[in-house]
């Protein structure tokens, strides 16, 4: 069975090519993935991300529950609206999912988790939360639209009321604010400025249309993937999964090691892996000739063999880039198996484009 978001009709209206994305019928593009990509890098584009799962955590032990559940420490969050990116891990230190946590108060947090992992995430939340005095509430009554690009905030501002404009005025990156019916956050998955807006289902189509009228280009999952990959942002299921440590997925920065007595799930395994440097690491690959690096390809580095976890043609750079999980011994060049032959690639930090510019 495939589910449809409340914006399904708007996608068809805009000429979208729809595909099955983990049980959701979603737009892959509206004609040209590259034009949509470029719209986000140079102007403003919008994505329907209503398929993502919003879960609210409320109760006297909300903070204690999340300090157990995820690798980062929600006690770091003290300013209402501040967001945190992290992973929830299994006992073996593998990534069950990556997520964003918004802090409202020590008794109220909002999580946004992936759609492809919804069922196992909800089961895991139910399981871990049973030891805490909290309620876990999925919020399917909300849709979500991500508006991204250098002009995204200005174009969105044209349709906000005075109260909403005042609330988002000067809001720093990685914050969210509930104002009227909208929850507006300065988060995203593109490496550009912009908002992710949570909106009640029955208002979503109107908001989409208003954004369209304000000159925001609809963009599909195809462009979303090339944008996030250029930005060096992981995609769950490709760049990490339950068998992969966050230390092997460029997620060390999402782990809070202090205080040492915070016993989050997976901690023991990670502490050992960190001390022994026993995991692979995630790097970026750059191939400036003809051809596209593809996920699943073998990567030969100094001291071992790795694998491309995500690869694409980078529309912003004009050549191919990839994320690859390789032995820590890697030097700054590697070889990749591409269409039956070996090609030389550069090994770089796993991040390629920020705010429209190359950062290789």
């Amino acid at each position: 069975m495939t589910s449809k978001t409340v914006l399904h009709a708007k996608h068809l209206e805009a000429g979208a090519k729809m595909v099955d994305f983990h049980g959701w019928e979603m737009p892959i593009n509206y004609g040209s993935q590259i034009e949509e990509h470029n719209a986000v890098r140079t102007d403003a584009g919008m994505f329907d991300v209503s398929h993502m799962t919003i879960v609210d955590i409320e109760g006297p032990q909300a903070q204690a529950f999340l300090r157990k559940l995820v690798a980062n420490d929600v006690a770091k969050l003290t300013v209402p609206g501040k967001a945190l990116y992290t992973g929830m891990l299994n006992e073996q230190g593998g990534v069950i999912d990556d997520l964003i946590i918004y802090f409202f108060s020590e008794t109220f947090y909002r999580l946004v988790v992936n759609s492809a992992t919804r069922e196992k995430d909800l089961a895991h939340l139910a399981n871990v939360s049973s030891d805490f005095d909290v309620t876990v509430t999925e919020r399917p009554e909300f849709a979500m639209i991500a508006v991204q690009g250098p002009n995204a905030k200005a174009k969105t501002a044209t349709l906000l009321n005075a109260e909403q404009q005042a609330a988002v005025e000067g809001m720093k990156p990685f914050f969210g604010v509930q104002v009227g019916d909208l929850f507006i956050a300065t988060t995203g998955y593109t490496g550009e400025d912009g908002y992710e807006i949570v909106v009640p289902n029955d208002q979503a189509a109107d908001l989409w249309q208003q954004l369209l009228d304000a000159g925001v280009a609809p963009a599909g999952l195809g462009a979303r993937d090339t944008l996030r990959l250029e930005a060096g942002m992981n995609l769950y299921g490709l760049d990490m999964d339950e068998s992969v440590s966050p230390l092997a997925a460029n997620m060390a920065w999402t782990i809070a090691w202090e205080p040492e007595d915070r016993d989050f799930i997976g901690r023991d395994v990670l502490v050992k892996q960190r001390a022994e440097k026993s995991t692979d690491k995630l790097v970026g690959l750059v191939f400036e000739e003809k051809g596209v690096l593809r996920s699943g390809s073998k990567v030969i580095v100094d001291g071992g063999i790795g694998i491309i976890t995500s690869g694409t043609f980078s529309p912003t750079l004009g050549f191919s880039v990839a994320l690859a999980r390789v032995p820590r011994s890697t030097g700054d060049t590697a070889q990749v198996e591409m269409r039956k032959k070996l090609v030389n690639v550069k090994v770089v930090k796993p991040s390629f484009v920020r705010n429209g510019k190359s950062i290789i």
């Binding site: 993935q33 195809g222 529309p315």
Partner: protein, 129 residues
């Protein structure tokens, strides 16, 4: 339903062939094929002077989504290639039957044309996919 011009011949692997009336034949990929592949980012072409056999992979169309081999629909010598595609591979998307042509073959055996599909036959193979 994508456009399938009736004056062209087609291979089941989605190449089209147009007779230039002088024993040479222009080859490209169908509109249906470019739709399947999505935005084209690189096109690798054979070299002028190459001898190709019918069914031989002699070019590559690489899109954001996948790399796809292009097969020579007939045997012969490559007498021209579309060098414009080097800088603008997206022409294959925007004008698959016109400026998005790939290469031209001087046929060594024109009877091989009989092995190709007409527009109707090709449209049936697409329907079956």
């Amino acid at each position: 339903m994508s456009n399938i011009p009736s004056e062209l011949k087609y291979a089941p692997s989605h190449e089209w062939v147009r007779s230039e009336g002088d024993g040479t034949f222009t080859v490209g990929i169908s509109e249906h094929a470019q739709e399947l592949l999505g935005d084209m980012v690189f096109v690798e072409l054979p070299e002028v002077g190459d001898e190709v056999d019918a069914g031989e992979d002699c070019a590559v169309a690489e899109s954001v989504k996948a790399a796809s081999d292009i097969y020579a629909p007939i045997s012969g010598e490559i007498v021209a290639i579309n060098e414009e595609l080097e800088d603008s591979p997206e022409t294959v998307n925007s004008d698959a039957y016109g400026d998005g042509w790939l290469f031209r073959i001087k046929a060594s055996d024109e009877s091989e044309l009989d092995n190709l599909l007409d527009a109707e036959g090709y449209s049936h193979t697409i329907d079956e996919e």
